[in-house]
Structure formats: C-alpha cells, structure tokens
C-alpha cells in the first residue's frame, strides 16, 4: 500500500515539475508577442489608475467648479473641463476604477456560476443537463443590452444592478465550456481509477476536469472583461448604468452629447479611454490564447 | 530511340520559414521518355512530393521556391513559363493524382461537375458536352455514369481515388504524376487502383512518374527506377538494374528491410538512424551517418555520380575505384 502512495507522490512530483516548465514556456511565448505585451502594459496602467488615482491627478472628480466650465485642453487641464467645471482627465482616470470594477466583478460572478452550472450539467447528465442547457439557451436568446435594460427598468439604476445584468448575460460560454470538458473527461479511465481509490466528485472536478479547460476559460474571461466594459459603458450611456455623479466613461459621453458641436473634448477623451481599455483586454486575451495553444494560431 | 518527354536537370527546391532554410530537393536529374513509366522511390521527407509539385509548378510559394535547375517538358523549361501558359499545361499535358483521396475532392460539388471542370478548362465544349464526357470517364474508371450527380462523401476511398484518376486522365495528358496513389487505401483496393492506372496508361500511351515508398508496386508497373534520398537521386537505372544489381548502400538497405517471401529470415534489417534534417544537411554524402561502408572521403565535398553499367547511375564513392580501373 505504501508503495502505491510513494509512486503516486513521485508521479505528482513529476507532473508538478512538468507544469512548472510548461508555465515558464507559456510565459516566454507570451512575452515574445509584442502586441499582447502592449495590452498587458495598458491593463497595468489602468489598474494603477484604479487603485491610486490620487498619485496621477490632484483634482477631485466630483467637486464642481462652475467658474471653470468648458475649458479647452491645456497644460493645467489635460483633457479640459466639463459642464460642471470638473477636470475631464481626472474623471477619466477615476473612471478606470468604475469600469474595471464592474468588468472584473461581472466576469468573476458569471465565471463561477457558469463553471458550477457546467459541472452540474455535465456530471449529473440527462434531465438535469437538458434543463440547464435550455436555461442557458434562454439566457442567450436575450441580447445583453436588452437584459440590462429589463433589469434596470425593474430595479433601478445602480452599479450592482448593472453588474448583475452583465453577469447574467455572460454565464453561458463558461457553462458550455466546462460542460464539454466534463462530458469528455467523465468516462476516461483515469477518472475511473481515481474513483476506485475513493475520490469523490468534487475532487475529480478539481483535479481532472478543471485543469483541462482552464486555458480556454481564462482566455474567454479576458475577452469577457473587454465586452463587459463595453456593455457597461453602453448601458451607462443610455442612462441605465452607473448613476451620476460617479465618473463613468459611458455616462460622461452621454452628458457630452449635448455639447458635441462646441466642446469636442467632452466626447472624445472618455470614448478613447473605453477604446483603450477594451482594446488592451482584447490584445491581452489574444496573446494569452496564442501563448497557451500556439496550434490555434492561424 | 524513343522520344524524351520530361527532362529534369539539377532541380533545387527550398523552403524558407523565418530564418530557417529547408533544402527539400538538392539537384535532381532524371529523364522520362514517351510512354515510359518511372518509379521515384524514397522515404517520407526525401523530397518526392516536392519534386512532383515542382514539375507542376505547384510548390506553395510563400515558403517554397525553386532555386535552381531546369524542368524541360517537350523541350520547354516549365520553370520559365508564365502563370497562364503553365495553367494550360496543368490538367492537360501533365496531370497529377494525389495521396489522400478522402480530401482531394471538393465536398460541395458533385463528382460529375469536378471531372467536367477539367474538361471545360482545356477543351472548347459546352457544359453539357463536358458532363457527357465526364460520365464516360467515370465508366472508364469503373463507376456508373449515372452517379455523376452525387457528392464525394457518398463514395468510398477507393472510388474517390478512381474519380481523381478520371479527372487526371480526362484530357488525355502525356504525363501522369502519381504521388503515392495507393498509400491511403486498403491493400485489396490498392491492387485494383494500380491495375486501373496501368490499364489506362496502356490505353492512352501516357508516361507515368510513380512516386512511392513501396518497392513492390514499382516492380509491377515501372520500367525505370530512381531512388531518392535527402533530396538527391542516389541510384538510377532500369528495373533490372535496381532490383537485381543493387549498388547504392541505401538501396541495398531498402531491399533488406522488406520481408522476403522466399527466404527464411529471422529479423528484418531496418536501416539504422534517420534521414538528416533537411534544414541542416551535413557536408558530403547525406547517407554517410547510416552507411555501413562509409569512408572518410564520403564526408567531404559533393559526391559525383558514377555509371556502373550502361544507363545505371550511382551516387556513391564506393564505385569510384571501378571507374578508375
């Protein structure tokens, strides 16, 4: 009996060593991709803006200063000021926090729920599977903006509602990915062997199934953050997202609509920020995908 | 003296990916006469398919490039032909059949349409006439003409290969290049397909360049043989020369690794080692590392070709002394 345990230990050691060198390989591949690196740098910058906005700008994003309305971009106000005299640059920087928060939270929630759904669906087969997949189809039938509209119309405007709406609309791909992985791995011999030595369902999921599908999940999650930010800003633009006066790129753009003819900077910079954020996550996700599985590269 | 149809002189083809240069074909020379059939024999990676593609000017051009030599067909150098002239040659004067019949046909067109396509490209006939001719070709290769409106997925591997043959021979080419036509098929179907190729070759008086790694098939169909190794021809001669008077150590090794029906052999003798990496070919003879008769001089310089008997050429320094005698 002890010999079996010793062998198991040795095997897991070897697997860990192999994993470590694999990880290093993946990181090297990623670092070689210059566009992906660019994406990563922008993301790091945004995270910094989100965490320490005070170090970048000393203005207050909410405090109004009506004497300083509509100043064009200059050396003191890099992006100019808005209709309330607030420094646009500052509001854009603080907007990082809002968008990143919503994006990451929504994706995290939908990811966890999606994975759980996928596991249950794949494991307990037949009826449960069918029901869950129908449920997913239903969620997918409603476009994310409409779902967001419905939830906000029902429960009002707030960051929480926005995040929930986006999370709901994002669950499907995770559930599907994990489900496929579960279905294919469930019948394999090493799973049977593990069961024979007493492993329960949870252990099997954690040890055999999840590692298999982690790579595509991580890639998808990254791209998901990008689309979540887009959806959040779009809903905020429509007045259904983050309530004023919290600085949010979408609602800033919406407020700027009225002044599009005279004060171009109010519209331009928040939108560019959105683009930079989404673009960087897309680049990063693309790079991750190439690094994790170069065979997929076209 | 029979007419020379195809003459390849010192052909060199390379693939360049990034900074790596793969020398797929390094100086191939061979001659094919009208109505003759030659076997081009070698292992995977020796450069056979690249040679075949080069003749058709179908070497995929971003990585691949013909960097030297001539391919003379009916006296004209195919390498120098421009694209539109070469298109008139393909399918019409020179045709090719491929290794994997499962993927060689377009899944969204009927088999009749695919045969008719090559007819319409080279003959001035209407669509209906082309289809009639296509049906006749199908009958010729042993498939009911009535099935012309079916899609490739309705046919088995062997039948698909017949369709490929029908396409290749529809315009009566003078040269047919067959790139491992039976490798992907079952043994029994192999025999059927080879019979078909032979029969049609006789009927249309087509020259055949048969590319394969299977010495058995070559013995049945070909009159001349060229053994290719690491992009070079290492032995060249008639069927009798190669099979009964084998000279090059590689060829000897090839024969030694086949089971012999008549002898009682305990173990097959595979050739030790592997073909050298074509992106990093050694100096001198490419076979040196695996040759049991290797000498020091084998590893230096270009190996010349020696004629050990009339029309039997060997690229091996072992036969240098004989010449000097």
């Amino acid at each position: 009996m002890t010999e079996i345990f010793k062998t198991n230990e040795k095997i897991s050691e070897l697997i860990t060593i192999k994993k470590k060198s694999q990880t290093r390989e993946i990181i090297t591949r990623f670092l070689r991709n210059r566009t992906a690196l660019l994406g990563l740098i922008i993301i790091v910058l945004m995270v910094f803006c989100a965490l320490f906005p005070q170090t970048i700008t000393h203005y207050d994003p909410i405090e109004q200063s009506l004497r300083e309305q509509f100043i064009a971009p200059n050396s003191t106000h890099l992006f100019g000021t808005d209709e309330f005299g607030r420094d646009v640059f500052t509001r854009v920087v603080y907007g990082c926090r809002t968008s990143l928060l919503i994006g990451v939270t929504a994706v995290a929630i939908s990811g966890v729920i999606g994975i759980i759904f996928g596991c249950i669906s794949g494991f307990y087969g037949r009826i449960v599977d069918n029901l869950m997949m129908r449920g997913i189809d239903i969620l997918m039938a409603v476009p994310i903006i409409l779902l967001g509209m419905t939830i906000v119309a029902a429960f009002g405007q707030s960051v929480l509602n926005l995040t929930i709406a986006i999370a709901m609309a994002s669950i499907a791909p995770y559930a599907r990915l994990v489900r496929v992985s579960v279905l294919s791995v469930k019948e394999k011999e090493y799973v049977e062997a593990a069961r024979a030595t007493g492993a329960n369902d949870l252990r099997i999921i954690m040890k055999y199934i999840l590692p298999n599908c982690m790579a595509p999940i991580i890639v998808h999650a990254t791209m998901n953050i990008a689309s979540a930010i887009l959806s959040a800003t779009a809903l905020s633009f429509l007045g259904l997202g983050v309530p004023a006066p919290t600085p949010e790129w979408g609602s800033m753009t919406s407020a700027a609509r009225a002044y599009v003819r005279d004060y171009w900077w109010l519209v331009t910079f928040p939108g560019m920020a959105i683009m930079a954020a989404v673009f960087s996550f897309n680049l990063f996700g693309d790079g991750l995908r190439d690094a994790l599985d170069p065979k997929l590269k076209n | 003296m029979a007419e020379i149809l195809l003459e390849i002189k010192d052909l060199m083809v390379q693939y360049k990916v990034g900074n790596e240069v793969t020398k797929a074909v390094n100086g191939i020379t061979l001659t094919l006469e009208k109505g003759e059939s030659m076997g081009l024999v070698g292992e995977t990676g020796a450069g056979k398919t690249t040679t075949a593609r080069a003749i058709m000017q179908l070497v995929p051009s971003p990585p691949g490039k013909i960097v030297g030599g001539q391919i003379l067909y009916d006296g004209e150098d195919l390498i120098k032909k421009n694209a539109s002239k070469m298109r008139k040659v393909r399918g019409h004067k020179i045709s090719m059949i491929f290794q994997d019949p499962m993927t060689a046909l377009n899944p969204v067109y009927t088999v009749g349409e695919q045969i008719a396509e090559v007819i319409q490209l080279h003959q001035n006939v209407s669509k209906r006439e082309a289809l009639e001719k296509a049906k006749k070709m199908m009958e010729l290769v042993g498939i009911e003409g009535a099935r012309h409106d079916e899609f490739p997925h309705n046919f088995s591997g062997g039948m698909k290969q017949r369709i490929v043959i029908a396409i290749a021979l529809a315009c009566n080419p003078s040269l047919l290049i067959a790139d491992e036509p039976t490798t992907a098929l079952d043994v029994t179907i192999q025999a059927q397909v080879m019979d078909l190729i032979e029969r049609l070759k006789e009927e249309f008086n087509t020259s055949l360049l048969l590319i394969t790694h299977d010495l058995g098939i070559v013995a049945e169909v070909c009159s001349k043989v060229a053994i290719i190794y690491a992009g070079k021809i290492v032995e060249y001669g008639t069927l009798d020369h190669i099979y009964n008077n084998t000279k090059h150590p590689y060829t000897i090794g090839l024969f030694g690794s086949i089971p012999n029906f008549n002898e009682n052999v305990h173990r097959l003798k595979p050739i030790p080692g592997l073909m050298p990496d074509p992106s990093n070919l050694p100096e001198g003879c490419s076979f040196a590392e695996r040759c049991k008769d290797v000498m020091d001089i084998c590893r230096r310089g270009d190996i010349p070709v020696y004629e050990v008997e009339p029309n039997h050429l060997v690229k091996c320094l072992k036969y240098c002394k004989q010449r000097e005698k």
């Binding site: 409409l146 897309n282 | 045709s95 088995s156």
Partner: protein, 317 residues
C-alpha cells in the same frame, strides 16, 4: 428536412416560453405599484384597488403569467402606461425603421467584411493582412455610441456633409448604418478570414490548381464556396444582434426605431412597453437565428443528404 425543421421549432418554442417567463418575472418583482403610476397622485385608495382588480394585479404570480402568455398568443403584449395604446401597435409602428437600419448595416458589414476577410486570408502574413487584422480588432473594441458621436463630429460638425439625426433624407441613414455595422464588420471579417484560411490549406485546392484552373476561380469557386457556411452563420447571428443592439445607435442618431422606443420607455418606467418590447425583440431574434440554421442545413450537402434517405443508402465500396 421537414423533420429537422420540426425539431428546431419545438426547441425554439420552449426557449421562447422561457424568455417570456424570465422577462415577466424580472418585471414582476420590480418595486413600485402600477396603480400609482397610471392613476397618478389624485387617485384614492379605492380607485387603486379597483384598478388592481381590473388588471389582475391582485391575483397570484402564476395566474398573471398565464394571463400574459395567453395575451401574447392573441397578439396582446399589454398596454403602454403612457400612451394607453397597445404595446404591439407601438412596436409595429416603429419596427420597419429598425429593420431598415439593420438590413442596410448588415449588408454593408457583410460585403466589406467578407471581402476584407478573403483578401486577408489570401495574402496571409503580408502587410495588408496585418493592417486589416488590427483594424478589425480596433473595430471590435470601439464603443458604438462613441463611434457614432465621433462620426457626427467629423461629418456633421466639421465637414457638414451628413445629417446627424432623424431619417428625413437618404443621407441620414449613412452614419447610423455604418456605426451599427462596424462591430459586425469586424466580426464577419474575422470569421471570413479564419474560414478561408482553413479551407485554403485543404487538398482539394491543390487538385483544383492541378487541373489548370485560374487562381481567382480557385479562390471563389472552390475555397469560398466551402468557407461560406460559417460566414453565413456569422452574418445571420450578427443581423439578429443588430435588431437587439440598435438601441444605442438609434439613441445617438435620434432614429425613431424600436431601440429608441425601449430606451425612452425605461426612462419613464413604462413597464408594459419595456416588457413587451424586450420579449418581442427576443422572439424576433430567435426566429431569425432559426431561419439561419435552416438555410445552413439546406446549403450544406452533408446535412442535406443525412435527411435525404434515398441517396445516402447508395454508399458502398
């Protein structure tokens, strides 16, 4: 073939039922009393109780839901709080505008997207390919409302050649269509590119060239015809998304379509309109997706023959 359609129809109906349930449930739990809203501050408690009784608002959830479904089946999606008109009428009055916008934008997106995708695939690794791919990624990352506003600044404010709102002249459709189509363009282009790349390396392409076929026909007649199936699916999918996502573009350009209708409705908490509108659009999109699936099944010869029993029995060796 009929069997396939029937199978799909049944699963669609189940999904639609679920969608109606989902939306209805969300709205049901929204705080606030419709009676307050419609009758206003002047109404007494009795008036409100009467109102609730008349509109089944005091009945249990299941009853209300079944009543609502029954309504849908009879073409009644509720009544707008604001205009007192049937929701369905409000929607139908504006649907042609959104349809027109969606069709124009998907056409632009498909034509340009597929063309760029083909070019990108045929010239893989070249500068053209890389430029196209980066532009596609930018397109996918650009928020449509911002793009719309930027286009307005450029073409309306600075150049003054195109109108920035409404649908009076044919010119006013240009900017909204382009904005709505951008994301689809990028997405379709990517699918076209990868689909072409996958087909271009297939053996039958070499066969086609070996026949002496001209390269342009090899690409269009052979490669494209095979690569087209995923492209069609992508076009269909994106078209259905246009119907849903038009909300933002219609708001930016003040186009009186369904999207704008919904956005305005939410602002004033016009629950029946939002509910009916979302359900309607979801139903519409689902049917479009179904149509795409059926078209796909028609075109793909392998699926076709699976359901055509006669010929598939002839497969033999």
């Amino acid at each position: 073939m009929i069997r396939y359609i029937c199978k799909r129809l049944i699963s669609i109906i189940l999904v639609l039922f679920g969608v109606a349930f989902l939306i209805f449930t969300i709205m049901y739990f929204s705080p606030g009393d419709p009676a307050d809203f419609i009758l206003g501050d002047m109404a007494t408690a009795d008036d409100k109780a009467l109102f609730r009784q008349q509109n089944n608002l005091d009945k249990p959830f299941i009853f209300q839901f079944i009543h609502y479904i029954n309504g849908i089946l009879h073409g009644n999606l509720g009544t707008s709080y604001i205009t007192r008109l049937p929701v369905l009428d409000e929607i139908l009055a504006r649907i042609s505008v959104t349809m027109k916008l969606s069709i124009i934008s998907i056409t632009i997106a498909s034509v340009i997207g597929v063309t760029l995708g083909i070019i990108s695939a045929v010239k893989q690794y070249s500068l053209t390919d890389n430029v196209i791919r980066i532009l596609a990624m930018v397109g996918v990352s650009m928020p449509s409302f911002w793009e719309g506003l930027m286009l307005i600044i450029l073409f309306s404010v600075i150049l003054g050649v195109l109108p920035s709102s409404g649908i009076d002249s044919w010119k006013s459709w240009i900017l909204p269509s382009f904005t709505l189509g951008t994301v689809s363009l990028a997405s379709i282009m990517r699918i076209a590119r990868s689909s072409m790349l996958e087909e271009i390396r297939q053996d039958y392409v070499v066969t086609a060239r070996a026949k002496g076929q001209k390269e342009i026909y090899v690409i269009t007649k052979h490669v494209l015809k095979n690569a087209f199936l995923p492209i069609i699916t992508a076009i269909g999918y994106n078209f259905s998304r246009h119907m849903g996502g038009a909300a933002v573009v219609e708001t930016v350009f003040s186009v009186p379509g369904i999207g704008k209708l919904l956005v305005d409705a939410i602002r004033v908490k016009n629950v029946p309109l939002v509910q009916g509108g979302v359900i309607f659009i979801a139903f519409f999109m689902t049917f479009i997706n179904l149509a795409v699936d059926i078209t796909y099944a028609f075109i793909d010869p392998q699926i076709r023959s699976q359901y055509n029993s006669q010929k598939s029995k002839r497969k033999e060796g």
